[in-house]
């Protein structure tokens, strides 16, 4: 692009500008949601093996106490978000759509809800391995939505090393403002978390990537970067899907993660700003991941808010606390409008990866007629990984999944930009997800046989 208007902010190539819809909650300070009578804690809140329950029905648990331990390396600990009694361990509705084994805790209404073990934790003298184990048992996952266990990202494989840590404060999903508020209000914990990660990874430079629709956060972070920390706050042009790891690395460092590889292969580790803040808080107060900030927003909710919610609180309780739904609400999402998951049960719990609750009304939820692809090129223009969604879409329609591999379907980051722009309303990314799932299954079968 020829630059006519002065210096442009760094960003990745392609992508879309869907409008950010963040004004509903942008200026609302984080408020603490009261404890509710019953909490539901699925043992599988993250990508990887489920956690293993360490409590029995009838056990009394205290807030912050470990109730499930990691079920493997790619797995994490789970803690009681409230003081109370375990009333059941049984399958419950999971926000992903299935029934999943969950620990049910009945809150003790008379408990002062103090931490199980409140103290600040020494970290400077600990080794990387010890710190990583603490983070794993602290139950940390990426809070941006994918819920990938954080300690796995921090465990740099033998022979590789990280040079850069990128803090993902992009929050490119429209409507969501949880990370924004956390950066504004809890930046001290964020910087403590960064120090701990620096200590683990031995990186020489830290970048905090923030889109320029959060100017106040950029300013606050820049003003408060500790003088001795090699940390730069990078203001990025607002564009979706900049929060995708690969896109953020391209925007900040102009590096590309090779196809099928990980950020560490280009000497980078990326972590969500909320996650790092949570790690900072754990070392400051001894508090594991038992609550998180959730943006409750959308035209369908009566009182939008940025809420600090105990993990496991039921969706219906959060909605009630926010004044309830408007009558014309048609869709409830966990996450943002571009990659979020629709919910069909109001008793599903808030999970570690739930960054927002988006309530859409019949005005936003429109089922549109699908037309044939006219190859208008718009999807090609927006795909952040330069795929050919038009071609992939026609291959998916004819179920030619094998050939989709040749068109690099596995590199799709599932951001949904193609579906967003398609004038023919073709469910492109939706079909790619199905195709990727089937192809992965097939590859697993081939490996097994």
């Amino acid at each position: 692009m020829i630059n006519l208007f002065g210096k442009r902010l760094p960003t990745f190539s392609h992508g879309i500008h869907p409008g950010d819809f963040k004004d509903l909650t942008r200026h609302l300070p984080i408020e603490r949601m009261p404890f509710t009578d019953e909490l539901v804690l699925p043992l599988s809140q993250h990508l990887g093996a489920p956690s293993r329950a360490r409590v029995k029905v009838g056990d009394k648990v205290q807030r912050g106490q470990l109730i499930a331990e990691p079920g493997g390396f790619v797995s994490i600990g789970l803690h009681a978000p409230v003081t109370g009694t375990v009333t059941a361990i049984e399958p419950r509705h999971h926000p992903g759509g299935k029934m999943v084994e969950a620990i049910i805790i009945k809150t003790d209404p008379f408990s002062p809800q103090t931490f199980y073990n409140e103290h600040s934790m020494e970290w400077e003298s600990l080794s990387a391995r010890e710190l990583i184990s603490l983070i794993q048992h602290g139950g940390f996952v990426g809070l941006g939505g994918a819920a990938f266990p954080t300690h796995v990202k921090l465990s740099v494989p033998e022979g590789k090393h990280a040079q850069f840590l990128i803090v993902n404060g992009v929050e490119c999903e429209p409507y969501l403002t949880a990370d924004h508020r956390v950066m504004l209000e809890n930046y001290e914990d964020l910087f403590l978390g960064i120090r701990i990660l620096q200590h683990i990874l031995k990186v020489k430079q830290v970048y905090i990537g923030v889109e320029n629709n959060k100017e106040d956060a950029i300013e606050v972070l820049r003003k408060n970067v500790p003088g001795d920390m090699a940390c730069e706050v990078i203001a990025l042009e607002t564009k979706y899907p900049q929060g995708a790891e690969k896109m953020l690395i391209e925007a900040v460092l102009h590096r590309e993660v090779p196809s099928g590889r990980l950020p560490i292969d280009v000497e980078v580790v990326v972590n969500n700003s909320g996650t790092i803040t949570g790690i900072g808080q754990m070392f400051r107060f001894g508090q594991p991941l038992i609550e998180r900030v959730v943006t409750v927003t959308g035209p369908g909710i009566n009182r939008p808010a940025n809420l600090l919610v105990p993990i496991g609180t039921r969706l219906s309780d959060v909605l009630d606390y926010c004044g309830g739904l408007k009558d014309n609400t048609r869709q409830l999402l966990f996450g943002g409008p571009m990659m979020g998951t629709p919910q069909s049960h109001l008793d599903v719990p808030i999970m570690k990866g739930t960054s927002g609750i988006l309530c859409l009304t019949e005005n936003e939820v429109v089922v549109r007629e699908e037309y044939p692809c006219i190859r208008c090129l718009r999807c090609v223009d927006v795909c952040p990984v330069s795929l050919n969604p038009s071609r992939l879409g026609s291959l998916a329609k004819s179920r030619d999944y094998e050939q989709m591999l040749d068109f690099h379907v596995m590199d799709c980051v599932e951001c949904g930009s193609c579906s967003y722009v398609c004038p023919s309303n073709i469910p492109l990314v939706q079909r790619f997800r199905v195709a990727k799932g089937l192809l992965r299954e097939q590859q697993a079968r081939n490996k097994a046989s």
Binding site: P18, P174, E250, L253, H254, R255, E256, P258, S259, G260, V266, S316, L319, D320, G324, L325, T329, R330, Q331, L332, L333, G335, P337, M338, M339, G340, T341, P342, Q343, S344, L346, L358, L360, E364, V365, V366, V367, Y371, P372, C373, I374, R375, C376, L377, R378, V380, V385, S386, N388, S390, R391, H408, D411, S419, Y420, V421, P423, S424, N425, Q430
Partner: protein
Amino acid sequence: MEKKIELLLSSSPFLKQQEDTPAVMRQVIYSLLPAALAALWYFGISALMVMLTAVSFALLTEGVYNRLNHKKQTLHDGSALLTGLLLAMTLPPGIPLWMAALGSFVAIALGKLIFGGLGSNIFNPALVGRAFLQASFPVSLTTWVAAGSLRNFGDWRGPAFTIPFIQEKVDVLTTATPLSMMKFEGHLTPLNQLFLGHSAGSLGETSALLLLLGGLYMVIRNYINWRIPVAIFAAVMVFAGGLHLLNPEKFAPFYFHLFSGGLMLGALFMATDPVSSPITHKGCWIFGIGIGFLVVLIRTFGGLPEGVMYAILLMNSVSPLLNRVTQPRIYGAVDDRHKAKSKP
């Protein structure tokens, strides 16, 4: 919660850009309207009847086909209407109306439906219809009348109502187009006349200015890929300009090629048909350059005075190949030819 709320389950994304394919088609039709109105101004009732005939037969063909095959009706997507209008714009104003009707039938049936309907055709349907007419009725397709004005709107410019296949030609006062005057008489039409459209030719060969305005609107609204017309113009300028430099006596200057005949209509409204043009930007550049080159080649060295139609159809046939060889490098590609950028 007491209230009953019916929740909809579908898959993300839940945000959607509003403009759908019928809306895009409508906008392209609007972009063509200024030039269509100019055709009415210059060629009066004859132009109007050609447009009405071509459009209604295009709609009729698609509607009847869908009905007979028990398919979902697709007329509301606007593509048949656009094809009919585009075909009309390529026809001479004095053409017998039954030919326009036949051309529309061929455009929709052979140009689009037999390939599987909208989005599946290889060639621009309007040009398929036009090529069919050109091959079948060369005389009627090259009988031109001089441009008039609103004062003689009611005058018929040709034998509109003749009996199909029996009576092809009735004598009318004919004239030559700027292109044939150049080709066969070496006469160069002045630029202002070409630009404003006061010259003989097809309905849409008249005003380069109004076509450019429509094209500009489509580029700004991202309905067409600007690379295609720009590549065509550039190729015509370079190739025609080069020939003119070699021998100014024999070869027309580049601006003559740009503003005469169907080039503007073809470059802005036909070559840019997304279905039959390449899907990659690099492919679009090559596609456009190919068209520009072929236009000048046919016009200058071929037997016909005009070559836009054949140039576009020929390049349409190359589009799938161009798509295949110009796939862009994907993010993080690691094959031998394209090493991923691993260092800044």
